[in-house]
């Protein structure tokens, strides 16, 4: 029973860690973009204040049960996904509840949230939300394909379908998968900005086009929950990439360094990019990333 106690404690700590790190990353992102834009920018803890402020809104409006549940689906997805990936390779707390972290399971649970969110956005009856959802799902089809190709290539190459298994193989071989299967890494990396929905792939909530799209009817505690979920999920995605391609991390500092380095890629690209149109985004993903994905598959299979 001790084990379970530790695991629950670990899960709580991991969630807290993910929240904090994700929030600070978002803060750093705002700061870095501000510096690129020739200004000072908000303090790095600004996002905590935003979340707290939204949480302390006195009223919240919903258009029905699905909208009420939408942020809930999102945060459930982020937190449960976090439960299923190894945050640190070994250690007492942060190995967490990764019940062997099957990759296909991860791929599927990661769409649980957006689907719920889409349903909630749909119930608001705001046409902008619906258009945003239709764009988002379309874009998802775009970036999922190269990303899945990269993952399948890894799975075929190393004959395991679990993150833990891939981590073990990396520590056995002593090399990271970004070096041992570079094509898969490139494909996954190219698909990454789409997953983060930063520019040029911020087409879902494009303010100038859709007035922030699916979230346009969410405010107060709902928006706060969604922001929380977003920051946790950013951490989850980064950790997953680190686990898959950069050999995981054995302590928190290593994790932060690796994830932050990875995070800079979508952030910096996003700072100087305009937005794609939806079909252009999908065509982008079905261009070079798909090519690298195929190459990775062929490399892995033969």
């Amino acid at each position: 029973m001790e084990g379970i106690g530790y695991k629950i404690l670990g899960a709580l700590l991991t969630t807290l860690l993910a929240f904090t790190v994700g929030m600070f990353y978002a803060g750093f992102r705002r700061k870095i973009i501000a510096r690129i834009q020739n200004r000072v920018g908000p303090p790095v803890y600004q996002n905590f204040l935003d979340v707290l402020k939204l949480l302390s809104k006195k009223t919240s409006v919903n258009h029905g049960i699905m909208q009420h549940l939408a942020p809930l689906w999102l945060i459930t997805m982020s937190v449960s996904t976090l439960m299923f990936i190894p945050v640190l390779k070994d250690g007492l707390f942060f190995t967490n509840l990764n019940f062997s972290g099957d990759l296909i399971f991860l791929l599927y649970i990661m769409v649980f949230g957006p689907l719920g969110m889409a349903l909630g956005a749909g119930q608001t009856g705001n046409p902008n939300s619906a258009i945003g959802v239709s764009r988002g799902l379309t874009q998802m089809v775009g970036f999922e394909i190269p990303w899945i190709m990269a993952i399948v290539a890894l799975m075929i190459q190393y004959k395991t379908t679990s993150v833990t298994g891939l981590l073990d193989i990396q520590s056995q071989n002593g090399t990271w998968m970004m070096f041992s299967s570079p094509l898969a890494f490139i494909a996954a990396l190219l698909a990454m900005p789409g997953m983060f929905r930063y520019a040029p792939f911020d087409i879902v909530g494009a303010p100038a086009e859709l007035a922030s799209g699916p979230i346009s009817e969410f405010g107060g505690k709902y928006l706060s929950t969604m922001m929380t979920s977003g920051s946790i999920f950013a951490f989850v995605k980064l950790t997953l990439y680190v686990d898959l391609f950069m050999g995981g991390a054995s302590n928190l500092i290593e994790l932060v360094i690796k994830t932050f380095a990875l995070y800079m890629y979508p952030v910096l690209w996003g700072a100087v990019s305009p937005r794609f149109r939806t079909e252009q985004a999908v065509r982008y993903f079905w261009g070079w990333p798909l090519f690298f994905g195929f190459a990775a598959l062929i490399y892995a299979a033969f």
């Binding site: 973009i33 690129i36 258009i131 239709s134 040029p200 700072a271 794609f276 149109r277």
Partner: protein, 367 residues
């Protein structure tokens, strides 16, 4: 039965709309099948108010007609009054006016840089260009005391002479801006995603452009060399050296290129105006404003603003108040008939983008 098309209100409260107006879109999928421009959210009844104000009081409110670019209004008003009254303007004042107008054009183009790329999601560009626009506004502040509303060009000349050291400061600012424009080019024009967004979007039929009332950069992007500064030269534009650009293409991208060329030309024009500026009077006296009457008559004056031909039709009945001042901004045609027709068949994603490239500015539509 409800329509099969979806109604989308773009504005008035919308981040993608330029100013306070509304475009009611009927969309099928994400393609616009019908667009209706609704204005009147900014209607203040200027033309009514001017009927109640004497000639000088009216002058103070004309600059409020178009916020992003107030100076062509002042210029138009002053020139209309001068034309009816037959009032002469000193040569120096003319140069100062040209310089002010060109500075205003630069400021507007910088704002356009921000709007055009901001509506495409390139948020760094507005931060840079709108930030740099402040340097122009600083010059205005030195010159007139106001950042936005200058009330500077008035009938008979300009309100003040250039302040001490203004020329150097203006020259330095121009040099700085010219340097910055290269950065803008790298960020915006050389960006392949921006090019993908802009090319082939919002095409105006070049054959019909003049007939449809297209003016300014959109018309020049249709390959037609049309510029009031050349066609109907006012002030001292006939003494300055510049050329009217014209490019084939008539899409958002071409219009952007035209503006990219023109902002550099305006910098050059400011330099020329400062260099060639003669010394002398900057103002011809007007009588006691409350007694100031203007003979009966009418005038139609035009100024090339950053967004195109800005025209005033002024009628005086010989009293101390204007009978009628009718303002026609370029957006009057661009924002209503042209926009409504141009948006049909375009993607929702490009609506705001096209509006920015046309330079739609609601306050001058409804005044």
């Amino acid at each position: 039965m409800r329509e099969k098309t979806t109604t989308l209100y773009l504005g008035p409260q919308h981040p993608g709309i330029t100013g306070n107006m509304m475009v009611k879109l009927q969309v099928q999928g994400d393609t616009v099948v019908k667009a209706e421009t609704h204005v009147g959210y900014l209607h203040r009844g200027f033309e009514k108010l001017m009927e109640r104000r004497n000639w000088l009081q009216s002058f103070t409110i004309v600059c409020r007609i178009c916020v992003p670019e107030p100076d062509p209004n002042e210029e138009n008003y002053s020139r209309a009054v001068e034309e009816i009254e037959g009032r002469e303007v000193p040569e120096r004042a003319k140069y100062i006016r040209v310089m002010t107008l060109e500075l205003a054009r630069i400021a507007t183009y910088l704002l356009w840089y921000g709007g055009q790329s901001g509506s495409a999601g390139l948020y760094t560009m507005p931060q840079w260009s709108v930030g740099d626009r402040n340097y122009i506004l600083d010059l205005f502040e030195d010159l007139t005391g106001g950042r936005i509303y200058h009330m500077y060009i008035w009938p008979g000349g300009v309100r003040r002479d250039l302040p001490h050291g203004f020329k150097d400061k203006a020259m330095r600012t121009m040099d700085y801006l010219e340097k910055r424009l290269d950065d803008y080019d790298k960020l915006m024009f050389e960006n392949s995603i921006f090019q993908k967004r802009a090319k082939g979007v919002g095409i105006i039929d070049p054959e019909k452009a003049t007939e449809w009332g297209v003016v300014g950069p959109p018309l020049r992007a249709c390959g037609i060399k049309s510029d009031v500064r050349k066609d109907d030269p006012y002030e001292v534009y006939d003494k300055l050296d510049f050329e009217v650009p014209a490019m084939e293409g008539s899409d958002v991208w071409t219009r952007a290129l035209i503006r990219r060329f023109e902002i550099r030309q305006s910098i050059n024009l400011v330099r020329q105006a400062l260099d060639k500026m003669p010394s002398g009077e900057y103002y011809n006296k007007i009588p006691n404003p409350h007694k100031w009457t203007i003979p009966a008559g009418d005038a139609f004056v035009k100024t090339e603003s950053a967004r195109g031909e800005f025209a005033y039709y002024m009628v005086s009945d010989g009293s101390n108040k204007p009978r009628r001042v009718h303002v026609k901004g370029p957006a009057y045609v661009h924002g209503v008939t042209l926009l409504e027709n141009l948006l049909v068949g375009e993607n929702i994603a490009d609506v705001s983008f096209i509006m920015n490239s046309l330079g739609t500015c609601p306050p001058e539509i409804e005044r």
